[in-house]
């Protein structure tokens, strides 16, 4: 069923903080299995769109459906990578402890992670290349390693739809490549991966489709159709330095991984 219906649908979604609107009437349908980028300037509402999909911010209007159903019916099939700065990295837990948190929802109340969960956590850490820091306190990692811990935790959720909020922020090229490869593998397994992203060059390189957002949906569709100079001008009104970069990125074209 998830192969026939859309992975993620926003119907007329509006979000406001207080009286200030953050997103206006977003109508967006994302197919069931792809790498999908949400792209736009700072303060465009990219993260808010993600949080709206996850039920973390109240909708002023509209509805969101994931895998054809309301969020509450499919929570167990949704994985999430929050922004790295959203937590206190001095918290006294190890890398493995954090990854195990991805199994908590499946375990439910009171049940503790056992051998099955531990071996799953080890496997997820291995996938993101962090097996040798599994026992380290999370504060003693580099930014990119912390980001990969979050990715491993999302993998441990064994979801069908993954939401990632700026997973490449503060990440070096090698980590970025590694994260993108893991995400491409997820797509190959038939999952939907939705990524809030700021770098247009790597977006053009890795994503199948994107949505350009600036408080409203500017354009959505396959990368080559959406990242046009005209659309970019409408999204990044006046920010010419960005336009140059995009021009180059689009000219180079997407890469097929």
């Amino acid at each position: 069923m998830s192969t026939t219906s859309a992975g993620l649908e926003f119907h007329d979604v509006t979000v406001a903080y207080g009286r200030r609107p953050v997103l206006w009437n977003v109508d967006l349908t994302v197919p069931g299995s792809c790498l999908f980028g949400i792209i736009g300037p700072n303060g465009a509402g990219k993260s808010t769109l993600l949080k709206a999909a996850l039920g973390l911010v109240p909708l002023a209007g509209g509805e969101v459906r994931i895998l054809g159903a309301p969020l509450d019916q499919v929570r167990g099939r949704v994985g999430y990578v929050p922004q790295r700065e959203s937590v206190d990295w001095d918290f006294p837990v190890s890398v493995t402890d954090v990854v195990l948190m991805g199994t908590y929802a499946r375990l439910g109340w009171l049940r503790r992670p056992g051998r099955v969960e531990r071996s799953l956590a080890a496997e997820c850490l291995d996938r993101v290349g962090l097996a040798d820091v599994a026992d380290r306190q999370i504060g003693r990692l580099s930014g990119g390693q912390q980001q990969r811990v979050f990715l491993a935790r999302a993998l441990a959720q064994q979801a069908d739809v993954y939401f990632l909020d700026e997973p490449m922020a503060g990440v070096d090229a090698r980590s970025q490549e590694r994260i993108f490869r893991v995400l491409a593998d997820l797509r190959a397994e038939g999952k939907l991966v939705v990524i809030v992203h700021h770098d247009l060059r790597s977006a053009a390189e890795w994503f199948d489709a994107v949505a350009l957002i600036d408080m409203r949906l500017v354009a959505t569709g396959p990368v080559a159709e959406v990242l046009t100079p005209e659309n970019l001008r409408r999204t990044y009104a006046g920010r010419l330095d960005v336009l140059d970069e995009i021009g180059r990125a689009v000219a180079e074209g997407g890469r097929t991984p």
């Binding site: 039920g55 973390l56 929570r75 959203s86 006294p92 948190m101 929802a105 580099s142 390693q145 959720q157």
Partner: protein, 428 residues
């Protein structure tokens, strides 16, 4: 004098040792539970909210006293205190949700207002000499002398209950304390768990009232967890450790106050807890001030010595070198003392030896060390280029051997990928 000693409620002499024992056990479990529950207050950054709740308890004690018709019945008074503490926390939530007041201001307001009201009420009651009101002020700074064995058993029982609840919901509380938005996104009722934790904190504040008093009971809830955090990087170890520190502090306070007449227990508990804290802040491994100072010193020294050897190796191409020649190329105070260390160490393990007159030259050992350091730096540089994060996570300024830090296999794969990146346009 508001710190009047309570009349001991027991009269039979034979009851004394048993009663003392039970009270001690009760207070010990209160201290333990306060540390355990308090750990989550600290980790969830709710320490100040707990303080506001604590100050509000006095109002509850006073109202419960009046409602009970002037009976000094500890369960009744504590029930009033708990209601007041929860009400104060409720006010915090409401202020946060419906006004645009910031958290710290809201906390200060609730704390100040409820404490003021509580003090006014208690003073009013005692000033009028209401029958049975004599010991009420003891809730301000704490005094355990008046506790009966029954009271102590109740306090101990509630403490054990709180500890059991924390252990039962350890997984859920840790998740919510660490990453509430992830918890919410994966379907956990974050608000409910949060309220549960806050009510537990309120319960511990109330249970700790007889031991530490409204003003100081947060010290029992906040200081032991912060102390425990210095010694461990794991929640699972931090909790029992915080409990242990809380237990020791509470017992120490109660023991001293039972010897010194008219001494309230609260301040003594705080003194004991803060002694443990300052000691830990100083001497704890890794996080402690001493350890950090030493490691900073070692770091600077190791770097300076390495630099000097490197420079010496280069200078030696043109024969023996002088101290001035080296220091001219390595500015900074650390270099001069590093040079002294290199020269002084010469007796044991010759690194630098006399090269005639004021000149020096590298001994075989020194040449070896310098060459090894140069080699390591070259490898690290390569690793930095190929895998900046792996390198940055693990490279330290004393230039450790990359083979021992990264492992031979991993180093090999990193160097191969670096070579590939240099040789071609990159993997496609």
């Amino acid at each position: 004098m508001i710190l009047a000693a309570a009349d001991p409620p027991f009269t039979a002499a034979w009851a004394l040792p048993y009663n003392t024992l039970v009270v001690a056990a009760g207070v010990a479990s209160v201290g333990f539970a306060a540390g355990v529950v308090g750990s989550f207050a600290v980790l969830r950054r709710r320490a100040l909210a707990g303080d506001a709740a604590a100050h509000a308890t006095l109002l509850g004690v006073g109202l419960a006293f009046l409602a009970g018709g002037g009976r000094r019945d500890l369960p009744l008074l504590l029930a009033g205190a708990l209601a007041a503490a929860i009400a104060a926390l409720g006010c915090l939530v409401l202020i946060g949700r419906w006004t645009r007041t910031r958290d710290d201001a809201a906390t200060a307001i609730v704390l100040g207002v409820s404490f003021g009201a509580g003090i006014t009420l208690l003073s009013g009651i005692t000033a009028r000499g209401v029958a049975g009101s004599a010991g009420l002020e003891q809730f301000i700074l704490g005094h355990t002398a008046g506790l009966t064995a029954t009271d102590a058993r109740m306090l101990g029982g509630l403490s054990l209950l709180a500890v059991c609840l924390v252990i039962m919901f350890l997984k859920e509380s840790t998740l919510v304390a660490f990453d509430p938005s992830f918890a919410a996104a994966s379907g956990w009722p974050v608000t409910l768990i949060d309220y549960g934790l806050v009510v537990l904190v309120a319960l511990m504040v109330v249970v700790g009232l007889p031991a530490a008093g409204a003003v100081l009971v947060t010290a029992l809830v906040v200081i032991p967890p912060v102390t425990a955090r210095q010694w461990t990087d794991r929640v699972g170890i931090m909790l029992p450790l915080a409990g242990l520190f809380g237990l020791v502090s509470a017992l120490a306070g109660v023991a001293v106050s039972s010897v010194v007449p008219r001494m309230p227990t609260g301040p003594l508990v705080v003194i004991a807890a803060s002694t443990l804290l300052t000691t830990s802040l100083l001497v704890a491994p890794r996080r402690g001030g001493l350890a950090r100072w030493l490691s900073a010193r070692r770091t600077v020294a190791a770097w300076a010595e390495g630099r000097l050897l490197e420079i010496a190796l280069r200078l030696e191409g043109a024969g023996p070198f002088t101290r001035e020649q080296i220091l001219a190329r390595a500015p900074g105070a650390a270099a001069a003392s590093a040079f002294r260390r290199l020269v002084r160490g010469a007796a044991l393990e010759p690194v630098v030896v006399r090269g005639g007159g004021h000149a020096w030259r590298l001994a075989a050992r020194g040449r070896e060390l310098a060459a090894e350091r140069t080699r390591r730096l070259a490898v690290w540089t390569e690793v930095l280029e190929a895998a900046r994060e792996d390198a940055r996570g693990q490279l330290t300024i004393d230039v450790p051997s990359p083979e021992s830090i990264l492992g031979a296999a991993r180093l090999k794969s990193i160097r191969e990928s670096a070579a590939a990146a240099r040789g071609g346009p990159g993997p496609t």
